[in-house]
Symmetry: none
Subunit: 411 residues, 2 copies
């Protein structure tokens, strides 16, 4: 007798950013933390380890999230620029040429500070650029990010990413001219557009009130921009086209939100986001994600705090975050007809304070999964589970099959 | 001291079609069935799970058998038509254009029944088509299958599969004209041949005695054919060319026999085959396969009943079939110098009554294999074995290496 509750039709895909680790004294934060709710999901689910890109490939959060969503990063990851631009909230479109940007200080024709004294109050500067910098036939979209960082998008027909950066990489040198690296009209036109933006920005920013004030205080003005990491925004088939499911993303980090949007996931904000994810915020995000399952077939929930603690090399804070987060996961056990995936986009070992390629744990919980003997969720024992070792690009096909949305190949 | 019996030189490759499952109340038919003989092979062998195509790809029996035999289905699987045609027993040749066919009823120029009232007595209709339908320069081969189904092959130089179906998909519409989908002489010529066959069949079948009788009984006549799923029969390098081994296939299902033949395996019939595989037939097939190992280096044995029970959603029948089958496997333990592979082509969970992409269990038993701690043959624990998780395309290379037929890559 098969009941409807024996078949899942929705997917809650939880990514605990940077949660897995390398052991320190035999322990990892995930293995050390008390986390009864995650452990119960591991016990009732199928477990394994996963190379989000491939063995030994150290993933970024951008490339790994692409892979986890089933988009081959070797095909769709076209450089930092497009993903930074999406991450700061520019609604990028396939074909846009996007760049990472620094505000910088130029005096007497040379760059004297590549970060303009780590300037932070760049709102008015960004507005001035958007209002006054014009390139015929090209839409110029500029958006500030945190600190001295920003993103630039050139939108229009006949543009190419085959161009060089303007960042001289060292102080004491002038801003570089942007050049085409292939001999096509598109590349030349794009290089000219970048050089035009670069020159106009100098003229527009130098006299801005913010910069006059900074000069009066003896601070380096943000009167120039350095443009780098150009790439073409990929034409990504939308999640709904690809999987026939309506999807949403609940996340705090701009990069994850940007990738979600690029893949056609609806972004569902949670009040007062930031990237540190204090316990209250995690609880709010979990509630939002569960609520969204009423409306969406697929919800990606990214939780960020463990990654931050890993980057800071703080074992205890990482452990504490995971314990608080686990408490916020308590409602998951009551979800019906839902396949719950819990995984990690990359390890962020406290011992190296950066991402590593160590495989991440992955569990799938829900009707129809082949439960195994793994009863704790951590990177040290997950390999004993029924999934063995898979890749990031495998998880969406596996999940789609478990909710019976795959088509037969052959007869 | 190494004895000759410590080295295998033959392979018995057993595929228990559709045997693996998803747990229902924590159990699967394979895990629930009493099957001492398979469990003994698991205990004495090396075990693992296997994605016959790739993780999350839901396999057909055709695509999975290609992969199990070491033929990449993404390269050699050219559509339903060629494999159906081979499956009904047409000796297809590389380059043939093959189609799936329905007998249908056409009255006053429109299709009034796409299955001709599920007509079954189509022998005389098929004979009439083969005798009387002629296309200059093209050999027309027609063969009935079960019920209203049949297969059509066009053989000749200068044909192309780049053409459309004639099946209108709905009743109340006329049979569609076949069109070339690319602008080549080959595609146009093939479309013309299909249209010519389609028209001639109408003229040939309408007055057949079978159809006159059906009309008298008020049944819809099988006076037309709907042609679809056209594909070019792939040029498949033969098993012997590829592996230097003489191979045979023992199977009941036409599709499997067809694939075996396409790959150059000798088909060894067992009296009175059908796809339901009652216990007596399974025992006869096992005997035939073991006997064939005297003559052939490689024998593929496909056992079908578990898949049928899975498609019917019948947990108990699936379990019972597996128990009966296991009893038929008793002689396997006496095989000498033989590598025994026992696997499954795809899961057919009783909960979904169709194939799924859940990995299948695989065991390899014979001299030289690294035995592991797995002591039961089922999809819930096989992952604990020494093979971990492999793919269908891996199994032939692994088996060939174990019988020392692989060549060193490098020095």
């Amino acid at each position: 007798m098969i009941f409807m509750s024996d078949v899942a039709n929705k997917i809650l895909f939880i990514v605990i950013d940077g949660a897995s680790d390398r052991p320190v004294g035999g322990k990892t934060p995930l293995a050390h933390a008390s986390k009864p709710n995650l452990d119960a999901l591991a016990f009732g689910g199928i477990n394994g380890i996963m190379d989000t890109i491939a063995p030994g490939i150290r993933p970024g959060s951008d490339t790994s999230h692409l892979a986890l969503l089933g988009y081959d990063p070797y095909k769709y990851y076209t450089g930092r620029g497009p993903f930074e631009a999406a991450g700061v909230g520019i609604d990028v479109k396939g074909g846009d040429i996007a760049f990472r940007v620094n505000f910088a200080t130029v005096e007497n024709g040379v760059v004297t500070d590549r970060r303009a004294g780590r300037i932070a109050d760049t709102d008015s500067l960004a507005s001035a650029i958007n209002e006054r910098v014009k390139v015929p036939g090209v839409e110029v979209i500029f958006k500030r990010s945190t600190g001295h960082r920003a993103a630039l998008v050139l939108r229009g027909k006949g543009l190419s990413p085959a161009i060089t950066d303007t960042d001289p990489k060292k102080e004491g040198l002038p801003i570089k001219e942007c050049h085409a690296v292939i001999d096509t009209p598109e590349a030349k036109r794009t290089a000219e557009a970048v050089n035009s933006v670069s020159r106009q920005v100098l003229a527009v920013l130098d006299g801005q009130p913010v910069n006059r004030e900074r000069r009066e205080k003896g601070l380096p003005p943000g009167n120039a921009i350095l443009i780098r990491g150009g790439g073409e925004v990929p034409h990504i088939p939308s999640f709904e086209q690809r999987y026939g499911m309506k999807g949403a993303v609940v996340a705090a980090a701009g990069l994850i939100i940007g990738i979600g949007k690029m893949c056609g996931l609806e972004y569902l904000p949670v009040a007062g986001e930031d990237s540190v994810d204090p316990p209250r915020r995690v609880r709010a995000k979990v509630r939002r994600a569960i609520e969204a399952l009423q409306t969406y077939d697929f919800v990606l929930l990214n939780v960020k705090g463990a990654d931050e603690a890993g980057h800071d090399g703080d074992f205890d804070r990482k452990t504490r975050f995971l314990e608080d987060m686990d408490d916020a996961f308590r409602p998951l056990k009551d979800l019906k007809e839902t396949l719950i995936i819990v995984t990690v986009d990359h390890s962020t070992p406290v011992s190296i304070k950066d991402h590593s390629a160590d495989p991440v744990p992955v569990l799938i919980h829900g009707p129809g999964v082949r439960t195994d003997r793994v009863d704790h969720y951590n990177e040290l024992i997950a390999h004993q589970g029924g999934l063995c070792r898979i890749r990031g690009m495998d998880i969406m096909p596996i999940a789609l099959d478990l909710i019976n949305r795959t088509k037969k190949f052959g007869a």
